[in-house]
């Protein structure tokens, strides 16, 4: 646990970081947990010094927002990665289009399944090459939803 005092626009925030080596970094800003993406350090270098952590100013609201769950690195980096339906369900919205660049963890579409709107996120950064589904379409478990090219 490290504690920093960060001043942004004249206001001081207390930033606690339980473990700077997690990705994304979980920072507790004035008691509110936010996740911070940190630029990758050179691979052989020791973990980034706490001072290098760039803390974005937290939203001043008390109620925390839903954040994307960090997605672990794809097991094997391949050029084209198919995003597959993790559950059988219905596509209720699509938030990207073919040719669009997406970032790792960006929401691609929402799959209504098990009475829940499940956000489906990119497992790697890249360009959307194919969208296999349309809004309203029912999909089976494991059915391809989109293809992302790294």
């Amino acid at each position: 646990m490290s504690v920093f005092y960060v001043t942004v626009h004249g206001k001081q925030y207390t930033v606690e970081i339980p473990d700077v080596r997690t990705r994304p970094v979980r920072a507790i800003v004035d008691g509110e947990v936010i996740e911070v993406d940190v630029a990758p350090a050179p691979t052989t270098a020791p973990p980034p010094a706490p001072a290098a952590v760039a803390v974005t100013a937290p939203a001043p609201v008390a109620a925390p927002e839903i954040r994307p769950t960090p997605i672990p690195a794809a097991p094997v980096a391949t050029a084209v990665e198919e995003i597959k339906a993790p559950l059988p369900g219905t596509v209720v919205s699509i938030s990207v289009s073919v040719g669009e660049s997406v970032t790792h963890g960006q929401e691609l579409c929402v799959l209504e399944a098990m009475k829940m709107n499940n956000p489906i996120r990119a497992n790697q950064a890249g360009v959307i090459r194919k969208i296999f589904v349309t809004v309203g379409q029912q999909v089976q478990h494991g059915a391809p939803l989109m293809a992302i090219e790294a």
Partner: protein
């Protein structure tokens, strides 16, 4: 007279020091340089990085595989001994890749089994640092015998002392079963691999299918697909840091209580009030269960296990007012928090571990149910899901559960419900505890009524609303005493800390048996 005695003693000391220096150099500087070039530390460097400074006491550094062989290398590729982590005693062994590629001979294996015996007799955790080319083929089948003896040691120590394996190089074939028999596996990204049959064997059997080491058994595969690895580390230093953090939650053995932080070191969450509005009103909108934990456990204390695998379930260690506990939860952000085969295995295994090492279990429930589908049924979700029940019922540590939102059907009962032995079963006002979801229930209960109505859709919606009000609440269960209380979310931490002060090991008479048969 006195002079010559001193000289003689000095000569003996010189010989000892020379032999020590030779043993310390392992396979020699050239091989040490090769190891460093691969971004890897040597066995002794790793142990030094793991333990508190200058606490390592090595055992049997002079052992040779064949005493008659003048070129045999001291230590035989295994560095074993004991030392301290955060001032607490541990046993540690490391395979030395610079000595015969870290390969396992019977001599090498017996250094490890003797350490296992010492750890068991003295109730000390065992940390193994793996980096080995496999069996020492020149030695023939006796090296396999050595593996078998190590496996025996692993099984006997299981549940008595914590066993942690850190994979820092290759681990192929039967060798992978020793770490698999231990409690936690940490794999270093890009330098470690684990598989039973390697790419060459697969190629010869499958006729030409090419698989590389990394995509077959690399750290990322085992941390996200197979679940073999509990943790993935970006480098060796991080991996060793994980061992130290992991041990900070664990007792040295099953007869001890987990370590407790002094009250001065405990940091309560800064903000609890947000918990009251965390669960969205719309039951179809997910939220992050880790945010629930942030407002309940000691600040910064949640240490997630199996973070990359079966992410619809969440397990890990945490502290409550300094006391180490095990946390089990669903994650509504992932697959709606359903229970599937992998989530069942993840939860059951963690519950077993916590029970073995006296860690109270706190369970947060938000699951719409088991994942439907032929794939799950054919994969044996029945026997996998049964493990969760088995593990919770058999666990005698204090068990507390909190339903935050959905608890439907089988998923309600298996997740540390009152019926399967929770000491304290609580719910938030947002809880929906029922036999099935409102839509499904109405379809079964009111099918004829809906069909006969002039406006079936409207009738159906009204009935769903009605069912939601009467059944999908915590009060139906609370009125029947199968829920101990409905609490304000912001009060959760205070309630759990108070309960943990009261709850003790469950002592219930059990019929005599050798052991139960867990559905595996």
């Amino acid at each position: 007279m006195e002079n010559s005695l001193t000289e003689k003693t000095d000569a003996r000391l010189d010989e000892l020091r020379a032999r020590q220096a030779q043993a310390q150099s392992g396979g020699g500087q050239a091989r040490i340089d090769q190891q460093h070039a691969k971004g890897k530390l040597t066995a002794r460097e790793r142990i030094a990085a793991l333990l508190d400074p200058d606490t390592f006491e090595e055992l049997q550094p002079f052992v040779l595989q064949h005493c008659e062989d003048a070129n045999a290398i001291h230590g035989d590729g295994a560095v074993t001994g004991f030392g301290q982590i955060d001032g607490r005693n541990v046993c540690v062994y490391a395979q030395d890749f610079t000595v015969y590629g870290g390969s396992v001979s019977l001599t090498h294996a017996r250094k490890i089994t003797q350490l296992q015996d010492l750890a068991l007799r003295n109730g000390l955790p065992i940390v193994g640092l793996f980096d080995s080319g496999g069996a020492r083929i020149q030695e023939g089948v006796t090296s396999l015998h050595g593996y078998g003896e190590i496996f025996c040691g692993n099984v006997i120590a299981s549940g008595v002392v914590p066993q942690i394996s850190v994979m820092m190089g290759p681990c192929a074939g039967g060798a992978a079963y020793s770490p698999a028999l231990t409690d936690f596996i940490i794999m270093v990204d890009k330098t470690s691999t684990m598989y039973i049959t390697g790419p060459d064997v697969i190629k010869s059997v499958n006729g030409g299918t090419i698989v590389d080491h990394e995509s077959l058994g690399g750290a990322r595969v085992h941390a996200s697909i197979s679940g073999v690895a509990h943790f993935i580390a970006e480098d060796e230093a991080y991996a060793l840091g994980l061992v130290r953090r992991l041990l900070s939650y664990l007792p040295a053995n099953n007869a001890e209580s987990p370590p407790r932080l002094p009250p001065d070191d405990v940091m309560a969450p800064a903000n609890l009030a947000y918990l009251n509005t965390l669960v969205p009103d719309d039951p179809n909108v997910p939220y992050d269960m880790r945010m629930v934990l942030d407002g309940v456990v000691d600040r910064g204390s949640f240490f997630e296990v199996h973070a990359g695998w079966a992410r619809n379930a969440l397990v890990g260690f945490a502290r409550m007012a300094g006391q180490a506990v095990g946390i089990v939860a669903q994650q509504p952000l992932e697959k709606a928090g359903v229970i599937d085969i992998d989530a069942s295995d993840k939860i059951a295994r963690f519950v077993r571990f916590c029970d073995a090492f006296n860690l109270p279990l706190i369970t947060f429930v938000d699951s719409p149910g088991f994942l439907p589908g032929a794939m799950q049924e054919h994969g044996g979700i029945i026997r996998h899901g049964a493990k969760i029940i088995y593990a919770y019922v058999a666990a005698t540590v204090p068990k507390i559960s909190v339903v935050t939102r959905k608890a439907y059907g089988g998923a309600y009962i298996v997740m540390s419900s009152k019926a399967i032995g929770a000491d304290l079963h609580l719910a938030w006002p947002s809880a929906e505890i029922a036999v099935m979801g409102p839509e499904a229930a109405v379809n079964v209960l009111n099918r004829r009524e809906i069909a006969a109505d002039a406006d079936p859709a409207g009738r159906r919606a009204a009935l769903v609303q009605d069912y939601r009000k009467t059944h999908a609440t915590p009060y139906y269960a609370a009125e029947r005493g199968i829920l101990d209380n409905v609490i304000e979310p912001a009060q959760t931490r205070a309630t759990l800390i108070a309960a943990l002060r009261v709850l003790r090991e469950q002592l219930r008479p059990k019929p005599p048996k050798k052991h139960g048969i867990m559905p595996v």
